[in-house]
Amino acid sequence: MQRIPTITAGLLLGVSFASTAHSDLLDDIRSDGTFTVGTEARFAPFEYIEDGEIVGYSADIMEYIMEELEGVELIRMDLPWQGILPGLERERFDYVITSVTATPERMERYHLSAPIADATMAILKRAGEESINSPEDLAGKVAAAQSGSAQLEALEALAAELEEAGTPVANIRTYTGVDEAYAELGTGRVDVVINSLPNLLEAERTRPEVFEVVGTFGDPVYFSWAGRNDEESASLNAFMDEQIRRLNEDGTLNELQEKWFGGPMDLPLELPAAE
């Protein structure tokens, strides 16, 4: 079992005083030979599990990037979204390879990488549901989003707008994972799910008889990966940004987008500055 060496190593490593041990995270990664990242492998088609392996858009991108890190093994920790950013901050892993929606608060607190995908908010409804065709139609409906997510924030902002217009939503329900929200949509407990467009398109693709995408709303937003905003992580963050930009410029990202999303995305090389 692979677990035993990990457990032994973990127990033997014992107390390592984190703050002074890392002078430069990227150097440490290269010398240790391991790159530990956090991911929430329940966000198809970006990162999800198939036959026990983490696959998806980011997995493919990482394959290209890992070629630049020779001799380094990628170790992915899979945990619920709500633990991802706290885990990064608490140095449970070196970097986050999972779709983090770029919000001003997050950009301040963490180092968000160059954008990897479009994250514009969209609405998912049950297929054939006539009464919902635009964001305004959310009035009187039950909406769902993932707990602790920027998508939830966007939903709450939309709900506030609707309330001011006198047509509030009936209720907002939050879930630990987006799959649960989709399941609830399927069983009728909620009427719409708010998520970023690529994910909703994937849900529609896998179950077209159950789900239908309504449309997008709000300003364009992007998905990034994330690193810590400190000195030790500076070179790692720069490295990752460089790699993503490279893949963007040489068209690799567009290829992968075709593969996973059915069409290329127009991504800037840098995140638009926070207002």
Partner: protein, 218 residues
């Protein structure tokens, strides 16, 4: 339900193995530490009893879900870096130590004082008394509640996915997100847990009969 088992048995097995490894490690460590803590709880010195009591009160009095989250996030704050699976085993151990200590303490209190006094008079040291007179009897007495605690640890392991350990519960969730069959999948997982626990219960019953154990009912 059975097709889920058939189609996904490799990953289910891997998940079950992780569940078992984590649980059994915690049980074994908890046994040793639980005995030590029980001695601490029954110590003559209040300076020993009091912290032990506090430990027991906290670890028995808070939900294990929160304990897992706290340990997972607290360790790096105080500079300790361990893999999630180690953090999971650590938390489960800390938790079960408190429960096992209470079980042992209760068992110890059932040993007639007379035996301990006689041992003292015969010149047997406190540690030797514990090792040869008290503990063997206590283990026999406490086998039933210990079994319950072991089963509880196994069930508690279903929570460690919140700190990034992929065990049986998490594997089931992954299967559900691909097959969209929550009823069948979770039933299959329930059956696996049940099977393991039934086996444990039978083993314990067998040991009980052989050792003539259990707290004497009237």
């Amino acid at each position: 339900m059975f097709e889920i088992l058939l189609n996904h048995y490799p990953v289910l097995l891997k998940g079950l193995t992780t569940t078992l490894v984590v649980s059994l490690s915690a049980i074994a460590l908890g046994l040793v530490l639980g005995v030590l803590l029980a001695f601490g709880l029954t110590s003559r010195y209040r300076l020993v009893r009091w912290p032990c009591g506090l430990y027991r009160s906290f670890w028995r009095g808070t939900p294990i879900l929160l304990q897992l989250l706290l340990v997972f996030y607290l360790l790096p704050e105080i500079g300790i870096e361990v893999a999630p699976i180690t953090a999971a085993i650590l938390t489960l151990t800390l938790n079960t130590t408190a429960f096992q200590a209470e079980i042992f303490r209760s068992g110890i209190s059932h040993i007639p004082m007379g035996q301990i006094e006689a041992a003292r008079m015969a010149g047997i040291s406190a540690w030797q008394t514990r090792r040869h007179i008290i503990m063997p009897q206590v283990f026999r007495l406490t086998l039933p509640p210990l079994t319950n605690e072991i089963i509880t640890i196994l069930k508690n392991s279903s929570l460690i996915s919140v700190i990034a350990v992929t065990e049986l519960m998490r594997v089931s969730e992954q299967i559900v997100s691909r097959t969209f069959q929550p009823l069948e999948t979770y039933l299959a997982a329930a059956m696996l847990y049940l099977a393991v626990n039934l086996v444990l219960a039978r083993i314990s019953a067998y040991l009980e009969r052989r050792m003539n154990g259990g707290l004497a009912t009237e």
